[in-house]
Symmetry: C2
Subunit: 273 residues, 2 copies
């Protein structure tokens, strides 16, 4: 048995994850492109191209140098040198046709429902990479601050037994309260949520909100800071200002959100308890 690192490298050598051409002739490029698309490989083409799209809408992209990616599932991305979003694209499930006509590489990607067509024309190809990629790595995303808020609203006992949210993001002067409610003794509770160890700023903000609410209602008002932890020295400040701290791990919130939110909030740390 070889060490996994070594065996992995051998595997990569035998699989040959990459076939690349630099500045190929159009017909050579077309050949590699056709092969890659036929074998459902991922494919990168860099070159000077123009694009016609027709389907739900229509668009035309004049010539320029771009990065075009074809994926194993039949999706297409045309990326300009700037911007997060592709300028043209096609969702997964496309059928392709490839032609080399009068020194122009033409690739058409079509799909049904809705019926859409993207045609890409290259008159200059700088690089073609046909890729045989293996990607089984798990992706896990855990709770955002907003997720923690939803978690508390959907299960108020996360904060404390008997807590009942009244409204959330209540507007006060200079901001919004994350969560706002009443505890089991009838006192108002103002909650400030942080998904990271809370610093001084979070505490001061909470104090400000508590003060604002106190000026509006004639009842006792508690201020509770919810975060996975507090930064060093902040605990003292919390006590000094008459506030409270409740530890809550954002990963735990992720597990609580079992309704539609489950989709992206998967078990990340199984050792969370």
């Amino acid at each position: 048995m070889l060490p996994s690192k070594i065996s992995g490298e051998l595997e990569v050598l035998s699989r040959n994850p990459l076939i690349a051409m630099q500045n190929p002739a159009i017909d050579k490029a077309a050949q590699l492109v056709r092969e890659a698309l036929t074998e459902r490989k991922a494919l990168i083409i860099v070159g000077n191209c123009w694009v016609d799209y027709s389907g739900r809408a229509s668009s035309k992209l004049e010539p320029g140098e771009r990065i075009v990616i074809f994926k194993e599932d039949g999706s297409v991305l045309v990326h300009r040198p700037t911007g997060y979003e592709p300028v043209n694209w096609q969702p997964p499930g496309c059928l392709f046709s490839v032609r080399a006509v009068s020194n122009t590489l033409q690739i058409r990607a079509i799909r049904r429902k809705p019926s859409e067509s993207v045609k890409i024309f290259f008159d200059n190809v700088y690089e073609v990479c046909a890729l045989n990629l293996v990607d089984n790595g798990a992706f896990s995303l855990y709770a955002s601050e907003e997720d923690m808020q939803r978690a508390i609203l959907s299960r108020p006992s996360l904060l404390e037994d008997g807590f009942e949210p009244i409204t959330y993001e209540k507007k006060v002067e200079s901001g919004f309260v994350d969560v706002y409610g009443v505890d089991k003794t009838g006192k108002f509770v103002v909650v400030e949520i942080k998904r990271k160890p809370a610093g001084r700023a979070a505490v001061l903000q909470l104090a400000k909100y508590v003060k604002a609410i106190r000026s509006m209602v004639n009842r006792e008002v508690r201020g509770v800071l919810v975060a996975p932890d507090v930064a060093k020295g902040v605990q003292r400040l919390i006590v000094t200002l008459g506030l409270e701290f409740k530890a809550l791990d954002p990963r735990k919130c992720a597990l609580v959100l079992t309704k539609p939110e489950t989709k992206r909030l998967v078990d990340f740390f199984e050792d969370t308890g």
Copy 2:
């Protein structure tokens, strides 16, 4: 003066749009990556990597083979071999740091407001492309069917003078009416919109809707087919069924939508008149 095709190729040769390395050692790859990011070039890295994200939320991506793109504007895309969307990303405006530590290429992309960090680690690089891309090609998108609908609603005179929409996408049995309203003589008008030359199916659908509406109201009901053109032989069918046709170019609709829609609906055919 050289022909533009030739001069363009000379320009490409002198500019050197591509520096590529296949299966480089990690430190060599790091060198090219650092250079490309420093010079604000676009950059493609294909290899085995894992990713940590922390910011609005947090995520972890276990090792696998992916395509990673860095763009001139400081945006980052991590693409798995399938799917339209990047699994991890960073919007434009990032700052980068590159390190090669114990045979691992580490790239960090951070941005402020919101404060976010994406860390990408490669232990195996199959391909690195540093790109010097020139892309000034105009992108134009013109109206979708929905845009045409909005255009008519925002300027009913596109259909005819005196037309007043009542509601749109009115539900009838087996479908929705695109636009529904009253003409200047008080008759009901049912509008069916197509962004391409209308075929028999569109006409028959409109006829069905007209029939459905007639069974619901005690008033005259007109059926108007709106499209840039009608397919061959369909005009007869329209007349036979007692319907009407109104020619409307989707490109014209695009120009009508001058409110927020302007952003993507630019003048595409200046010779539209």
